[in-house]
Every structure is written in C-alpha cells, then in structure tokens.
Symmetry: C2
Subunit: 353 residues, 2 copies
C-alpha cells in the first residue's frame, strides 16, 4: 500500500459553488425539484443567478469537495477536472492547490466558461442545486495520466460525469489503468436523478467494475427501483465489494459484499485481495455524529466519502472508515459550504485515538 504517490485521485466536474439562502417559494417558482440537482444551460443559470439574493462563491464540485476533505484529513490527493482560463477558473485552481491537492490539468483556452453550481439552501437546511457544467464538460482521456492513476491507491469517480458523453472515455481510461495496476476504483451515485438518467449503466458498474460504492438512501433506492432502504440493501449485498450507504441523521450502513469471488479479476487481482481490511459479509450500522446546529447539508455526502476513503487508504477497518465519514459529515453540515472549515485530521483523532 506504500508504493503509491497518492492515497486518492479524484476525477470529477470542476465547479464553483454559488451558495445562497432562499425560501421554499424561490425553489418552487424556479421549478427545481427540492433537494436534487438540475442541469441547466448558461442562459438559465444566468437567469436564476439574477434572481438570487446575495451569495457566496466557493470552489466546489462533489468529487473535488471529497478530495479537499481528504487533504484536510492529511491524505495525499490529486484531482482531474477542467476549468476555463477565466477568473473563476483561477480561483478554483488556487483553492485546490492551496490545500495541497495535486491539480495540474491545463485550463481550457477557449469554449465555455468555468462551470458553476447554484446552491439554494432552504430553511430546512437542505440544498437544491442547478448546475451549469461549462468548461468541466471538456474533460477527456488526454486529461487522465495513466501513470498517476497507477500510482494512486484509489481512483474516485462521481456519477455526475456520466452526464457528459465526452467524459466516458476519460473514465474508461482511468478505470483500466487502475485495474491494470491492481488499484481500487471508488464511485459515488451522486444524485437520485442522476441515477435515474443512467440506471442500467450504474447497475452494471456497481456489479462489475466498482470496488467501493457510495450512495445515499434516495440514490440506492433509485438504483434498484425500490421504496425501502432495507430492500435496496438486500439487492446490493450479493454483488458489491464495499458499499457505504448514507442515511442523513440515521447514519450509515457499511457493507462488504457477500460474493467477491464473482467479481472480475483484474491484472493484479480483484475480488478478495490480499491486504483488504475486511471480510466478505461484513455489515456495520454506523450512527451519525451529533450536530449542535444543522446549518447546511451541502457536502454531507462528499465529506462522508472523504472520511471513509481516508480510513480505507490508511488501513482502518470498515466500521472505523464509516465513523470517520460520520465525523467529516457532521463537521460540514454545521456551517455553510461543502468543504471542511476546520482540520479533519484533528477531528479524526476522536475516532482513531
């Protein structure tokens, strides 16, 4: 596990979050599904932005938020995503690099502006998002350095990437390089509507390609088209390697698949690999960490994934991975914004001693 340069390499959409507190009527008036993410074009993004109350800009993007969280835990991390050579692109690059993230994809010199995500936080502390992908859609195989993938313990992909046909070649290149080097591939379902758009593809990914799956209750229920969390859990157990299923205030359920032998074997061996810190069939029921004041649920899933992947790449058992996820999620929902406001490495000491 030590012959790598990076604990986790993330590949995702490079987006600047534009966060504003709004009332429910704002979300309804603009016809966005409450709590979900809608893809919009530049024109609609600008129309919504014009109506928004004063907002704050923060570098975001689900996968990049996880990478930022991992950096806060002290993990070594890299990120692949595309910005434009504009003002927001410079801000985005600065924010990631200043955290110590290896991020050296050249910004696009023409085409759409740096992507942005308008985050509308309603009084229930939930967020409704509308995303203009902009330059982030130009991610392609040339942006993926197979050598970096091979030198990363885990390559982490976000489901949102599947909304961009051009990104798929990049994903395939990365997944092939990871498997070829005997590394792990982690994947987040991203959003229930995203699952809806790519259900069949995601199902076969989960069954055949992914080592570590992240999803929240709505996403995993959407994946298997069931109404009930336990029903989704039962569907997932036989054919995933590791699954971390988040349930908001109900905590998370972490599983190691029952049938890893059924998974395809990569060059360096998939299935139950030497050095795995779990046994097939494990199920852990992990509580959410208490939060004094819930401010903004944005980033809860992203930071849970950060804690979990930090644990996984540092040799902790699955229950500890889940607890590190809970710690990071609790931190991020106690303030506005999707990246940690304090050192997660320090908070982690409460879990790992």
């Amino acid at each position: 596990m030590t012959d790598t340069d990076f604990d986790v390499l993330g590949i995702g959409n490079a987006l600047v979050d534009v966060i504003a507190s709004v009332d429910n009527a704002f979300v309804e008036t603009h016809d966005f599904p409450h709590g979900a993410t809608t893809m919009v074009d530049l024109e609609r993004a600008e129309a919504v932005y014009a109506d928004l109350p004063p907002a704050q800009e923060l570098s975001g993007g689900s996968c990049a938020n996880t990478i930022a969280g991992l950096a806060s835990f002290g993990a070594t991390v890299a990120f692949i995503g595309r910005v434009r050579d504009d003002q927001l692109g410079k801000v985005y690059t600065h924010d990631l690099r200043s955290l110590g993230v290896d991020f050296d994809v050249a910004p696009a010199t023409d085409g759409p502006a740096t992507g942005r995500c308008l985050v509308m936080v309603t009084p229930d502390a939930h967020r409704t998002q509308c995303t203009y992908l902009g330059a982030s859609t130009f991610i392609g195989p040339d942006d993926v350095d197979a050598g970096v993938v091979a030198r990363s313990q885990v390559t982490y992909l976000e489901g949102y990437l599947w909304d961009q046909p051009s990104a798929k070649d990049a994903i395939r290149k990365a997944a092939t390089a990871a498997r070829g080097a005997g590394r792990q591939v982690a994947f987040t379902l991203s959003d229930p509507f995203c699952v809806d758009r790519h259900r069949e593809e995601f199902r076969s990914l989960v069954a055949d390609e992914i080592d570590v799956l992240f999803g929240n209750e709505a996403e995993i229920c959407s994946l298997y088209e069931v109404e009930d969390f336990d029903a989704a859990l039962q569907r997932l157990r036989p054919h995933c390697r590791v699954g971390a299923l988040t349930r908001s205030e109900r905590g998370s359920v972490v599983i190691a698949g029952d049938a890893p032998a059924a998974l395809p074997t990569g060059a360096a061996g998939a299935g139950a690999r030497d050095g795995d810190q779990w046994e097939p069939g494990e199920v852990h029921v992990i509580d959410a960490d208490p939060v004094e004041r819930l401010v903004d649920t944005t980033g809860a899933g992203d930071q849970y994934a950060a804690g979990f992947l930090h644990g996984l790449t540092h040799g902790y058992d699955l229950a500890t991975c889940g607890r590190l996820g809970s710690v990071a999620a609790a931190e991020v929902i106690s303030h506005l914004g999707a990246r940690p406001a304090v050192s997660l490495a320090r908070l982690a000491e409460n879990v790992t001693g």
Copy 2:
C-alpha cells in the same frame, strides 16, 4: 409448522402494572435509575405507591405483554406465570384469558400477593419501573407442562426470570422440552440492569441455547460491555441464530447468525433447520414506524417482540418480521399502557398485504 397447538408459549413474571405520570423530580427523589427497572420489596413498593399520583392498573409483565400482542395479531398463544388467589390475581387472569390466551397455572393459595410493577412515566414519555415480584417468584418446574412446550412452535422466555433462582428449574425444563421436540426458544434480555446481574449466564445462553434473541441497544451493549451499537452487533453476529435488536426511533437491526453450524444440535436438529425462512448472514436494517404523538414508551420492546414472533411463526421472512415488530411498537407507544389498544391483525395488513 402446523403440528402445534400454539404459535408461542410465554414464560414470564405475572405482574399487574400500576401506571402513573410523574415528573422527573419524583423519580430522582425516590432514587430510581431513570428508564430502568428496580426490584423492590413489598414495603418499598407500598411506600412508593403511597406517594404516586392517581394511577391506572393494567395487567402487564414484559413477556405477558408480548403474548397479549401476539393474541391481537391473531396468533395462538399460551402463558405460564404465577399469581396469588387475590383480587389482582383474578384481574390478571381475566385480562389474559379474555384475549384468548391459554393460561391455566393455578394461583398460589398462600404466600406473597400478586406481583406488581409501578410504572412511572416521565414527561419524556420514558418509563422508570419498580417491581415487587410477589407471587410471580413462585414459578417452578411443576408449572411447566412439557407437552405444551412440545406443542408450541416457539417458547419465549424473559430475562427477568433469571432474577428468581426458583424459576431457573422451570426454564431448564422448558428449554429441554422445546429442544427435544425440535422447537425454538426465544429470549429477551429484558433490561440493561438485568443483563448486568446475569451477564455471563446470558452470554452463554445467547451463544448456545437461544434461537431468537431480542434486546434493545442498551441491553446488547451491556451484554458485551461495549459503548457502541455496531460493536455489539459485530460481537453478536458470529454466534446467534436470529437476533432482533431494537433502537427506539432508529428502528431495528435483524440478523441471522453467520455460524449456525456451530450451534448445538437438538434432537430434531438445531443450527440451519429445514423450514427456516432465512439464510445465515442476513442483516436487515428496519426503520421505526412513524408515530404521530409519542405518549408512553412502555411496552415498545414487548410489542416489537410480538410482531416479530408473529411473523416468524407465520412463515414471513426476517425483514417482514422486523416490520411487523415496528408496526406493533408504534401502536403501543402512541397511548398509555403496554398492550395494544387496537387490533394488530388489522395493522399487520399494511405490512403483509
């Protein structure tokens, strides 16, 4: 499964509940641990009763409440417990028999009065109990009809019985008869303080004798002396056949042990038996049913066990058993008292269709 007269036979303390709403100061003044059950002698029971505000009397006892719940589901049930031939004993007998419960243990004609449990409900809807066991302690092997045990699918025992040395011979006789006939033995841990008093004995019971274990989070954590639910879950999984672990508003976790082959084999075969409606290694995460108004948590665990055992003895899978438990628990906590106020058979239709 049809060659039995009874779905479930319960063996437990026959107690009349004396339920009163009190403030927290009352519980503190009388020095009872909040939310737990304290055993008292007749003198102390009468002193506390003298201080209680107006109360209502209801037939109770944890195991008998479960049996009453099973009757409400439409199960065929029997109960073994001891009352005295006094006024409360007559009330107790009437209440059980009027539900259709087979209850024919002769009342004691001398010795202590019928046992009672003073239930102090605090404004948080939790109950603190003080129990005077009275005549219920006189349960003995002569009260157990081995033929009835052999003709019951499940014999259900409450942990509180272990507080009475004289009851143990009765338990042993029942357990031997159940195993000899290839029947199942179910057991509830009853109370974290009860677990504290009998930890080693309960641990070996769970590992070696019990087919179906019920316990709430505090009880199962006490059993394994761990602080965390998941830690207790991991301790339990390798060596129980079926466990149903309740977590109040967090629902329940239902498991089928990983290693049933390690269990002792009775005359008709223990371990993974023909006709079991589960596979080793199953884990189900079952949500609590929503409750409009939480009034009194008394009986939540008892009624969960009723729903679960009803499901188990009627061929349902473990997830459905858990959901039937959730339905029954939600019903009983929405009103004062530990037995159902409406037909559970009707509520069950929402789960089983």
